[in-house]
């Protein structure tokens, strides 16, 4: 049976399963999305802005980025433990990761964030 990890162009089958890379890629996409959604929520809702004010001189940016980094790292650890020895269909994982990355990019773009808030 063909190894699905070996998305090759005539090259021999891959030695390392793609699960470890899949975990890193998807969690990176989710980490970028987390920055976008936390930043947008902090901007839209004053109580959340106060919640994200972890370090007052930096303001809500400190909590937004700290939360997003924690979400990214925890997800990466969980997915790595689950996937590192597996070979996964990368097409769907890439699509999800790039969608999350794109959504994150959109959410941190101020005109788009303001538009969603009806400003």
């Amino acid at each position: 049976m063909k190894n699905p990890a070996a998305e090759t162009e005539g090259a021999p089958e891959a030695q390392i399963p793609n699960g470890g890379a899949a975990a890193a890629i998807l969690s990176a996409g989710f980490g970028c999305f987390s920055i976008g959604i936390c930043a947008w929520l902090g901007d839209a809702y004053a109580p959340l802005a106060r919640f994200f004010d972890f370090y007052n001189p930096t303001g809500p940016l400190s909590g937004v980025t700290t939360s997003a980094i924690l979400i990214w790292l925890v997800l990466w650890i969980i997915l790595s433990k689950a996937w590192s020895r597996k070979s996964l269909p990368m097409g769907m994982i890439n699509l999800s990761a790039f969608l999350l990355l794109g959504l994150g990019m959109l959410l941190v773009f101020p005109p788009f964030g303001d538009f969603l808030q009806g400003k």
């Binding site: 070996a6 890379a21 990176a28 920055i35 990368m90």
Partner: protein, 190 residues
């Protein structure tokens, strides 16, 4: 010749960590291209592989140093609120920008975008470095993984570019100033 302590830290943040982070992308993309070339890349020897790993780790360290120094050293000075009655906004960059419609956009669009999008770069490049180090030459056999690595490397470059551009333009319009003066020897007039 002298600069203030805050100007010095801002220069280290932008021209040190940020600019070097952008510069090191060229090497990363070159290595990615080499790994992913048709017919497979020749395997790197132990020494070359170690240098590549150090290079990628340095790229990550630069990226993280850039965002942390920006958020926790420079940004608090930038967003500081002036005491009531202050008329000279020279040390309050955000207030200075927002005091004029001609410059308010540098904060409302530039800084509001830069302060968040910049963080995409170290997250993305940490993933890129992890995959490149973990997979090495085997990456040439994972077409879809390569696509994702290329895509995220490009996104990191884009995010760092936005942050760098707006950082430079904001600092041009309203430089972060203040702190003890640092005298640079050799610049005295004759």
């Amino acid at each position: 010749m002298q600069m203030s302590f805050r100007e010095f830290v801002t220069a280290v943040h932008g021209m040190g960590f940020g600019a070097f982070f952008l510069l090191t992308f060229s090497g990363t993309l070159f290595e990615l291209r080499r790994l992913c070339g048709s017919g497979g890349a020749p395997a790197l020897g132990g020494g070359a592989r170690r240098i590549l790993h150090v290079y990628l780790i340095a790229l990550c360290v630069l990226g993280w140093c850039a965002v942390f120094s920006g958020a926790y050293l420079v940004y608090p000075w930038y967003r500081a609120h002036p005491p009531a009655g202050t008329t000279d906004l020279g040390e309050f960059a955000q207030r200075k920008l927002m005091s004029s419609p001609a410059t308010a956009g540098w904060h409302n669009l530039g800084m509001e975008w830069k302060e968040h999008v910049a963080w995409f770069a170290p997250i993305a490049i940490t993933m890129v470095a992890f995959v490149m180090i973990s997979y090495g030459n085997d990456l040439s056999r994972h077409r879809q993984v390569r696509k994702a690595v290329f895509g995220f490397a490009a996104a990191a470059f884009f995010a760092a570019g936005i942050a760098g551009f707006f950082g430079a333009m904001i600092n041009k319009s309203a430089p972060v100033q203040g702190g003890a003066p640092i005298v640079i020897p050799g610049g005295a007039s004759e």
